[in-house]
């Protein structure tokens, strides 16, 4: 299957305008980058709606978009669980109960919160794992971008890699976190505007939602599922076998809705950093809620077209096909690419391609801007060169270090991208491993925020052992049909899961449970090292309740949270 696009001059013109704006924003912000706080924390001056859009945009990277459209084809509407139950409760919880401690404690990063609440070694462990994880993630996304440009636009791999790295470096070096956040907002709008024509045309082609349901019925029944299994979310989750995801409702609730999503949305600094850059405490608490509203509608833009692609694939008259890999299997991640190619003429095609490019780049920029903060504050300032007490000189010094870290972060990402191109499996493996840090981290931060008795040593042990046991579980289990050790079983296989998703869920559940139990038990056995007064602003019961009575009712986080909750419930019922 030919994957190359025939781009016209007009499509390139749109791309060039976009790059000019991206770099221009960095340039315009350059004059504000006077100290480390401005560069690494955006000077805590970002309006709530801007940070809110950046908050979800960070998660809307191109790999995510391509993967989700492919999942729409493979698993149908159940994929929307990642946007509803698998995101919204966690985002609301972060906004209402956790954001005030991240923001109010004056911590500059999630690892620094661990230092303030627990101790230095807990911060160190988290900071180092996080720094490695972000650079890896940025390298993998660079590699994927260069590969895509080679396959789809016919550009040279090396040139694509260095050109995209140079643009990302350009605007993050010039404008720091503010520049990354602003460009994420730009990316958010261009994704919507660039993909909307495709979503509209594919739905028109399959006869709208009802036409799609009718065409899907025979296709899905021949796979052994109920006729509407691809257009419903909860209906067939009574058993794992009844739905294409292979997970029953309690697995979706516990695995996706609780452990995975709370671990990701509430503790991943890459995400939380956007809210920490907000201009005020109320703004910071509103950020996840403002992000949640568009988040809930993204499935209609990227998942529903994927479901429609299943209809197209089974209709020979449409002439729609996916490229095949070496083993002759369709590459589902290319679904959205092939949809763009199928429907968009020159002009809007340029917008669609630019949308994908934009989301790749802002994904990299997001990782780089989180990496440089953690490196500068949590590693360099903590272990290599502590503050000297001279505030002005320190500020200048750490600004310089932050800028250098940006360059180094991009260079290491390029190296990681080349490793990924030579030994893709190793990178997949490392990424799987580092993703295991989130579940125990959530357990530890949750206990730290809501239980004043939890101690530093307990948190450190919980974090470390939870992570190690997640590794062991991954090493001892495999999804069915796994051909490489990347998928698990590298210590010998004692259990086989029906699908990879189930293995991921259980890895997270085990890591979370172990970290929670260990932290609780060791805290009970050890002496408290922090007094009640020291925990003011860090622990729920030790901190004065927030008073929102001075805030207009429609600006109060609780009010927004209720709106978000209602929308989610209505959507879940409509697509039950």
């Amino acid at each position: 299957m030919e994957t190359k696009f025939a781009l016209g001059g007009i499509d390139y013109l749109i791309m060039i305008v976009y790059f000019a704006f991206v770099l221009g924003i960095g340039w315009a912000l350059k004059k504000y980058m006077k100290n480390a706080s401005a560069f690494l924390e955006a000077g805590r001056s970002i309006p709530a709606w801007v940070a809110g859009l950046a908050f979800i945009s960070t998660n809307l990277g191109a790999l995510e978009v391509m993967g989700m459209t492919g999942s729409g084809l493979k698993y149908g509407m159940l994929t929307a669980h990642f946007y509803w139950i698998g995101a919204i409760p966690a985002m609301v919880f972060l906004a209402l109960f956790m954001m005030r401690f991240y923001y109010g404690s004056k911590a500059r990063s999630v690892p620094e919160y661990l230092k303030l609440r627990f101790n230095e070694k807990t911060r160190g462990l988290n900071a180092i794992l996080f720094a490695v994880m972000t650079v890896l993630a940025s390298g993998i996304s660079m590699y994927a971008l260069a590969l895509l440009l080679e396959n789809v636009l016919g550009w040279n791999f090396n040139v694509s890699l260095f050109a995209s790295a140079a643009i990302v470096l350009g605007y993050t070096y010039l404008g720091g976190l503010s520049s990354a956040i602003y460009n994420e907002v730009l990316q958010f709008f261009i994704i919507i505007i660039g993909l909307l024509p495709m979503a509209f045309l594919v739905m028109k082609d399959v006869g709208g939602w009802s036409g799609m349901q009718a065409s899907l019925a025979p296709i899905v029944e021949s796979k052994g599922f109920a006729a509407d299994a691809w257009t419903t979310t909860w209906k067939y989750t009574g058993t794992g076998a009844g739905n294409p995801l292979g997970v029953a409702w309690y697995g979706i609730f516990a695995g996706l809705g609780f452990v995975l999503s709370f671990g990701y949305w509430c503790t991943n600094f890459l995400i939380v950093q956007r809210a920490m850059a907000a201009e005020s405490m109320t703004a910071a608490r509103k950020v996840p809620l403002i992000g949640a509203i568009p988040k809930m509608f993204i499935p209609f833009l990227i998942i529903v077209p994927g479901i429609a692609a299943l209809v197209l694939l089974n209709d020979p008259l449409k002439g729609f096909a996916l490229p095949l890999n070496d083993a002759g299997q369709p590459i589902y991640d290319y679904t959205i690419i092939m949809l763009l190619k199928q429907y968009l003429p020159a002009g809007v095609l340029g917008l669609g391609v630019t949308a994908l490019l934009a989301s790749f780049m802002s994904g990299m920029a997001g990782n780089v801007s989180a990496f440089n903060t953690v490196w500068t504050y949590d590693i360099y300032q903590s272990y290599i060169r502590p503050s000297t007490g001279n505030k002005e000189a320190d500020d200048k010094h750490y600004l310089k270090v932050g800028k250098m870290a940006t360059i180094v972060g991009v260079l290491v990402s390029i190296a990681a991208a080349y490793i990924a191109s030579k030994f893709g499996n190793i990178m997949d493996f490392l990424q799987t491993i580092f993703s295991m840090i989130n579940a125990p981290l959530f357990a530890v931060i949750f206990l730290g925020m809501f239980w004043k008795r939890s101690t530093g040593n307990a948190a450190f042990t919980g974090l470390l052992v939870g992570f190690l046991l997640a590794l062991v579980h991954h090493g001892l289990t495999q999804p069915e049909g796994a051909t490489t050790l990347v998928k698990g079983g590298w210590l010998g296989v004692i259990h086989t899961y029906p699908v990879e998703m189930a293995q991921n869920f259980w890895t997270a559940i085990i890591a979370f449970t172990v970290a929670t139990l260990l932290t609780v038990v060791i805290s009970m056995l050890s002496k408290r090292t922090k007094t009640d007064a020291e925990l003011d602003g860090l622990v729920y019961s030790m901190t004065k309740k927030l008073d929102d009575s001075g805030v207009v009712w429609y600006n109060r986080p609780w009010f927004l949270a209720v709106i978000v909750g209602i929308i989610m419930i209505v959507l879940s019922i409509l697509f039950w």
Binding site: L13, V17, Y32, S178, I193, L344, P345, G347, V348
Partner: protein
Amino acid sequence: MLDIRFPIGLMFSIFGLIITVYGLATIGNDVMYARSLGVNVNLISGIFTLLFGLIMLFFSDPMKKLMKRK
């Protein structure tokens, strides 16, 4: 600090303008729009993009300042 609505508005106005003009220039080009089911998707998309860009520009700080001066 820079008001992000200004660059967003400016960029999408330019995008909208380019695509609208291109859509107008290609009216009746049935071969080109066969893939988009006969819809001149450039014209429609271009107008909406332009509208979005102009609304963002209208509400941006630099625009408000300009209005005040007048």
